[in-house]
Structure formats: structure tokens, C-alpha cells
């Protein structure tokens, strides 16, 4: 708890509401320390005490259709760039939901680096230029179907997720590049490049 007398009213009230177990003793402590916010603290303590504990109320065992409808509404309200938006095809890309660790492991398994793999996650490579053999290996490693993966990679290119929310303007991802361009522009070793080229149809 902040002890400075300069603490603002909203800071003090927030600190009180974030207390693990606000009770009469907690309130007494705050009242003594912040007498200038006496009435606000008392009112807040009553509201916190009064609020019913909602976590203990079990949901119905059979989910209602209302949730489905609410989800559709929710999803339709999201920005097209949102990873969960209905308009976002990246959501279907199995690479976009991997943890950082799994993403790293996958790159190692495929003997490529993360930059190269991220080009697939961001759908920035022309699918027709990707060797089938490589796609098959990728689909197998991701435990998804070949067709499903191909479909996901055909989505419009996206910007990297880290940049997606910082840009003040409309995100722009540019055009897709060929598999060959990706090979040479991703910092892959000669050996890695050769191995990938050998998969070409």
C-alpha cells in the first residue's frame, strides 16, 4: 500500500479494492491512513462486501445456444486484424497458435530457422511455389491435414503479431514472395538452403 500523502483518491480506492480480503480491519487501516478519503472508502467497502461472489455459481451443465449467438456477435465486432476475428484467416493458420517454445522446436525439427518458419505463419509465401514435400512435412509436424495447411497458407499475408497492435495506421503486409526468395532472404545456412531446394518438385 502506498503511504505517501500524495496518493490520489483513485489510487487509494484501487489499492483497497485489490486487497486480498478487504474486511473491517482492512478498512480501519485505510481509514486511519487516508482520513481524507473516509467517505469514499466506507462506500467502497460496503460495495465490495455487498457484491455477491459469482465464481461459486456453477454454469448449466448443458451450454445454451445463447453463448453461440453471443460469440458470433462478439466475433463480428472485432477488428479484421484481430487474431480471433471472423475475417482473420490467420486464426486458421496452425502456426499462429503455437507457443514460442513449440515454434522454436518446430523450426529445429524442420532444419530451418524461425524467421523462415515465421514467413509461413504470416502467410507471406506464395503457396504454389512451396514444394509439396516441404508442405507435407510441415503438415505432419503440425498434425494437420495437407489440404487444411495449404488452405490456411493461402490467406492474405499478415504483419508479424508483435507489430500488429502498435501500428497507428492500417497494417500493411505487402505482397507474397516466392519460396525461393524466402530461402535466400531468411538467413538460412547454405546447407539448409540446399536441403530445402532438394525438396522442390
Amino acid at each position: 500500500m502506498n503511504t505517501t500523502s500524495r496518493a490520489s483518491r483513485s489510487d487509494v480506492l484501487h489499492a483497497f479494492s485489490a486487497e486480498a480480503n478487504p474486511n473491517a480491519d482492512t478498512l480501519a487501516r485505510y481509514l486511519k491512513r487516508y482520513p481524507q478519503f473516509r467517505e469514499s472508502l466506507i462506500d467502497l467497502s460496503i460495495e465490495l462486501f455487498a457484491a455477491p461472489s459469482l465464481d461459486e455459481i456453477p454454469a448449466d451443465t448443458v451450454p445454451s445456444d445463447n453463448a453461440k449467438r453471443a460469440w458470433s456477435t462478439f466475433q463480428s465486432r472485432l477488428c479484421p486484424t484481430d487474431p480471433a476475428s471472423a475475417a482473420s484467416r490467420t486464426a486458421e493458420n496452425p502456426l499462429s497458435s503455437l507457443s514460442d517454445q513449440r515454434f522454436r522446436e518446430l523450426a529445429d525439427e524442420l532444419n530451418i530457422n524461425r524467421l523462415f518458419l515465421s514467413r509461413f505463419r504470416d502467410c507471406s509465401i506464395q503457396v504454389t511455389s512451396i514444394p509439396q514435400k516441404f508442405l507435407l512435412r510441415l503438415a505432419e509436424a503440425l498434425a494437420v491435414t495437407f489440404e487444411g495447411l495449404k488452405h490456411a497458407l493461402e490467406a492474405p499475408p499478415t504483419v508479424a503479431s508483435g507489430q500488429r497492435y502498435k501500428a497507428s495506421g492500417k497494417p500493411s503486409a505487402g505482397n507474397k514472395i516466392t519460396f525461393e526468395d524466402a530461402l535466400t532472404q531468411s538467413g538460412l545456412s547454405e546447407q539448409q538452403q540446399a536441403a530445402l531446394r532438394s525438396m522442390k518438385d
Binding site: 490520489s8 485489490a18 466506507i42 457484491a51 465464481d55 456453477p58 453461440k68 513449440r102
Partner: protein, 261 residues
């Protein structure tokens, strides 16, 4: 890493969520999306509402629709169940419509917060129960009284006595100890609690504060000058506190139409 709240104190430190919430968020932070969904869906170990708001509100977490959808569904089903308790059919004529409106608006707010860089719902990640209670209060206020026959609306004040205890009717000048005898099982019942609290909220400020402090377990007075008491907190005499409690009690009893509160 858990995304801190963007709102900061005057000193520039981020506002904190309740420790319990931070703890759960830290526990879940490293999980792959599939396992995260399983944990949030688990009915054995209930995850607090605040955690759901966190996952629904932050697009930076990069959860795709396939993972966010089941999280949303669990959240929404639980929200509906909570609203059925706190906006009950027995309390409101048009309870279903009110519940629907509250749920819709909560979902709308989450989407808005998710789309913008705003931090409107930061408090819902800190204290969901309180945030929803306040939101419910706002919606109810905009709708109007629960029903025309709402007992408190038609209740005649029993006395118009002054703060110093003159002209108090003997039957309302009762000992506070007799009045607040909180029956724990009743107070644990969300539906009863919601009704009780709605009624308390309709009391005049002075009475509401006296009742609210008493319910929290604060003593009316104490011989020990170091102990915080209701009369100290409200800066009035012990007698005034008792009078306020007495008046409040009568109103609560009428409004709740029960013998033992």
C-alpha cells in the same frame, strides 16, 4: 509474461490486480493454447471471472478463434448463470430481458476494449464481482424500479426523528445486535445477498453506511481508543449510529418482507 494493467498510479506504477488473480494468471501464462483452454474449461478447479476477462480482452495474447471461442463460451455460460442469481425472476418482472441486456453490454464492452487501446475494463480484471455489481446497478437504474409494487418505493418512513434520537418510536429503537444477526447461509446465497444489497443501496446515505459497516463486522463503539468503530468512522455518536441502524432495519424488513434479515 502476464500483461500488466495499463492504468498507472500517480507515481507511474501499474495498477495491480488482486494477488489471487495475478497468481492464477502467472500459473497459466506459459501454457500452450490448447492446455490453457482445458484449464479454463475445467469445472473441478474454477478459474476466477477476472482471468476470463484477461484472456478475452487482450488481442496481444494472439489467441485465434479456435481457442478464444471455447474460452468465451465458458465465460458466457457462467455469466448467464451468475445473472440468473443476481437478477432473479422473483425479484424483477422483466428479469430475462434485463439479464440479456447486461450480458450483451458486457460482451460489447469487451469487444470494444479489445479493439481499442482503451483500458475501460481494467477494473473487471481486478474485481469482477464488484465491477458487475456496479454495472448491474447502472443498468437497473436506467430501466427503473424492479416493479411498481416494489415495497420500498411505497414504504412510508416510520419516523421522522432527528439524528439525536428524539421522537424515536420505541419499536424501532432496537439494539443493533438484535437486528444484524447475519445468517451466514443466507448471506452466502447470491440471490438473497443481491436483494439485500439492492435494498441497502436504496437507503439514505447515513443509514446505508451504518448498516454497511455493521454488516462488515465493525463495532458500534469501543472502550479502546485505538479500535476503529462505526461511530468514529462516521464521525457521530454511538446513539446516532443506533438510531440510523434502527431506521434502516425497519425499512429493510419491510422491503425484504422477511422476519429475520
Amino acid at each position: 509474461m502476464v500483461i500488466p494493467l495499463k492504468k498507472t498510479t500517480q507515481k507511474g506504477e501499474p495498477y495491480l490486480r488482486r494477488a489471487e488473480i495475478e497468481h492464477v494468471l502467472n500459473e497459466l501464462a506459459g501454457l500452450p493454447a490448447n492446455q490453457l483452454v482445458d484449464r479454463l474449461k475445467c469445472s473441478q478447479k474454477i478459474i476466477p471471472f477476472e482471468v476470463f476477462i484477461y484472456y478475452l480482452r487482450h488481442p496481444e495474447l494472439a489467441l485465434g478463434a479456435e481457442h478464444l471461442n471455447p474460452i468465451f463460451t465458458v465465460f458466457y455460460d457462467r455469466l448467464e448463470a451468475a445473472l440468473r442469481k443476481t437478477v432473479s425472476d422473483s425479484q424483477f418482472d422483466n428479469a430475462a430481458a434485463i439479464r440479456e441486456e447486461i450480458a450483451e453490454r458486457v460482451v460489447e464492452m469487451i469487444a470494444e476494449d479489445r479493439n481499442s487501446q482503451d483500458e475501460k475494463m481494467y477494473y473487471w480484471e481486478t474485481n469482477f464481482n464488484h465491477a458487475l455489481a456496479n454495472f448491474r446497478k447502472d443498468v437497473l437504474r436506467s430501466i427503473g424500479p424492479a416493479r411498481e409494487s416494489d415495497p420500498l418505493i411505497n414504504a412510508e418512513p416510520l419516523t421522522y426523528e432527528d439524528e439525536h434520537g428524539h421522537e424515536i418510536k420505541p419499536e424501532v429503537d432496537i439494539a443493533a445486535a438484535d437486528f444484524i444477526n447475519p445468517n451466514p447461509s443466507k448471506l452466502d446465497d447470491s440471490a438473497f445477498r443481491s436483494r439485500l444489497m439492492d435494498t441497502i443501496n436504496m437507503l439514505p446515505t447515513n443509514e446505508r453506511r451504518a448498516v454497511g459497516l455493521l454488516l462488515q463486522g465493525m463495532q458500534i463503539e469501543s472502550q479502546d481508543p485505538k479500535v476503529m468503530t462505526i461511530s468514529k468512522a462516521l464521525d457521530c455518536t454511538e446513539r446516532t449510529v443506533r438510531n440510523r441502524l434502527g431506521r434502516a432495519y425497519e425499512k429493510l424488513r419491510i422491503a425484504l418482507q422477511v422476519e429475520d434479515i
